[in-house]
Chain length 357, copies 2
């Protein structure tokens, strides 16, 4: 398997609108609208909020023919490439390709027959758009699903392999692959096996049905963290049962934490302990809140005491290390000045604005 500079697996490159996926492109961040697709105004307004948070590809459901007009309006006005999410009805996939989809997401396992899948492939070829083959544990290739003696991981991978072979036989390789499960170990093992068996195709990674904000964040970061750390994964969608804006925030936090991409400032803050003599949790939350309006990929430290503070805050681009009722502002390793606790956050941000704003 070929690898690129940062240790990531080198796949073919697929274009979703103007966003490159795979083939050395940065790992892109996706989400999915929770609005009614027929309500194109509400959907476009959600897409704009998501784009502001750094979402790069958006998916919307096309559940029935009545959604197609809304879908077309969304594609025409969206600032992000729009992927049509189709289940069951191949005619919806064809219509979505004709009405402006930047990509189709289909699960060939629930489209019905392979003739119908072929019609979808034909429509995508004509429109010049990629197809994400999105298998998941709940809807496998019917033939594979019935084979005895296979583990869920093997079933997921075998479904993908069987679908990809079918697409390749029709000369269609403009493919992104996903095979999602809600179990972290199953997700990790499935994508490892996929990246071995189908090394040429970009992988869309994520945990499905991961749960609410806290549990879903844990599951997605564990699974996708392991995979990205091994160089597996070209685009990601971290499913959360929450406002999709949170999916985008968590995705960027994860990319930043792994050192793959950084969009926003990083906050380094100590966990506080019996030594802390200032309201550090309050201070860190306030710094985090104000950092949301800063776009520079800087590292900002909020440290509670003299034990780790001075040593570790120096690591950051800018930081504060607190003592009793006062603190020191550091800038790129050098103490700048001592400030009273009440003014510490304000002074920190006037320095951030001056230097990185």
């Amino acid at each position: 398997m070929q690898k690129i500079d940062d240790g990531r697996r080198l796949t073919r490159q697929v274009m979703v609108g103007d966003v490159a996926v795979g083939g050395g492109a940065p790992v892109s961040v996706q989400s999915m609208c929770t609005t009614d697709t027929s309500d194109s105004d509400a959907t476009l307004s959600q897409i704009k909020r998501l784009a502001e948070e750094g979402c790069e590809i958006i998916r919307v459901a096309v559940p029935d023919p009545s959604a197609l007009d809304g879908f077309e309006r969304i594609c025409a006005a969206s600032p992000l490439p729009v992927v049509a999410d189709i289940h069951f009805d191949y005619k919806l996939a064809i219509a979505a390709a004709e009405r402006g989809a930047a990509a189709l997401r289909v699960n060939p396992g629930n489209i019905g027959s392979m003739d119908r899948v072929d019609a979808v492939i034909e429509a995508a070829s004509v429109a010049g758009i990629p197809i994400r083959i999105g298998v998941n544990a709940g809807s496998l290739d019917p033939e594979v699903a019935q084979k005895p003696g296979l583990t869920l991981v093997e079933r997921l991978v075998a479904s993908c392999v069987s679908f990809v072979e079918h697409f390749e036989e029709r000369g269609f390789q403009n493919i992104v692959l996903s095979a999602k499960a809600h179990s972290v170990p199953v997700t990790i093992q499935t994508y490892r096996m996929l990246s071995k068996q189908l090394p040429d195709y970009p992988l869309h990674v994520g945990v499905t049905e991961a749960g609410t904000l806290q549990q879903g964040t844990v599951k997605n970061c564990a699974a996708v963290g392991v995979l990205l750390n091994e160089g597996i994964g070209d685009t990601m969608r971290l499913s959360l049962t929450a406002d999709p804006v949170e999916e985008v925030r968590v995705a960027w936090e994860l990319l930043g934490a792994l050192g793959l991409r950084r969009r926003n400032p990083e906050l380094v803050s100590c966990p506080t302990c019996g030594r802390t003599q200032v309201d550090l949790i309050g201070m860190a939350q306030e710094v985090e809140r104000r950092l949301k309006s800063i776009q520079a990929p800087i590292s900002v430290a909020v440290m509670g005491c003299v034990v780790n503070g001075p040593g570790e805050a120096r690591d950051a681009d800018i930081g504060i290390a607190c003592g009793r009722g006062k603190g020191v502002i550091f800038v790129q390793g050098e103490p700048l000045r001592t400030v009273r606790e009440e003014q510490l956050v304000d002074e920190l941000f006037s320095e951030i604005q001056k230097r990185f704003g």
Copy 2:
């Protein structure tokens, strides 16, 4: 390197009070009090809250001699083994060992001289308690810190190796090791190298100064997720700038997600999309809230539509799959009955109570 059944690295076993760490013991969950140690009532009340959430080892700061009386009261009454967190003053470590600490956490790099470290080793030997050698990026072995040409990872590991050699020369091997940084890649590389160079000692894993609840959860789950997935890590503390109860909750979520240990029910819920015809986010949050009072390690599904719902909810011990204004309750793969949306959560919990309560 020897591995045990579940692929985890086999180390020597160290006892922190009655909690075994390493040597095949389950990965234990730690946290640290944020209360003033002198205020033993407040600290004990925090420890009780943490114990109820599943914390198994608790650390408290002993910042100065005035904290020692409170520390002794805490050790005498705590339901969890208490680790004394000591910096700078070796006399505090000796006093803590004499007054009931279940373990000492020291960073030999900030104790002053190795003679003083020897006095701490002697006190721990007499008390029969282990020492966690806790190196972190802000306070390395002074000799190692000044060596040119080493990366931070190499400095962290070299500090540990040098300290461990010193302890072993004095015949002391009742050791747990940690080497923390706030960077996820540095944390991963450091613990991988530690587990190769010092394979015999249990490792305490975590990211330090990880940040507030959301960012800290992402960083800890990415780093500790990768490490635990590779079989590295015997006890964990996920530092968050938040109520320490959150550290314990996230730690258990992570252990559950990785399939290592499960304490609480798992919620499998879909992310909702344009197909969803019920208030699924509200429903999932309500189910999550009510599940906090259930201790059985069951898997509960809350699914929004017919696409993935029936297929994936069958995976769970019990679940609901929703349609328009109503839903189906599944129990271990079998549909039980159809219920109106308003009664779905109540009916789900009456089934949970009946079967797993």
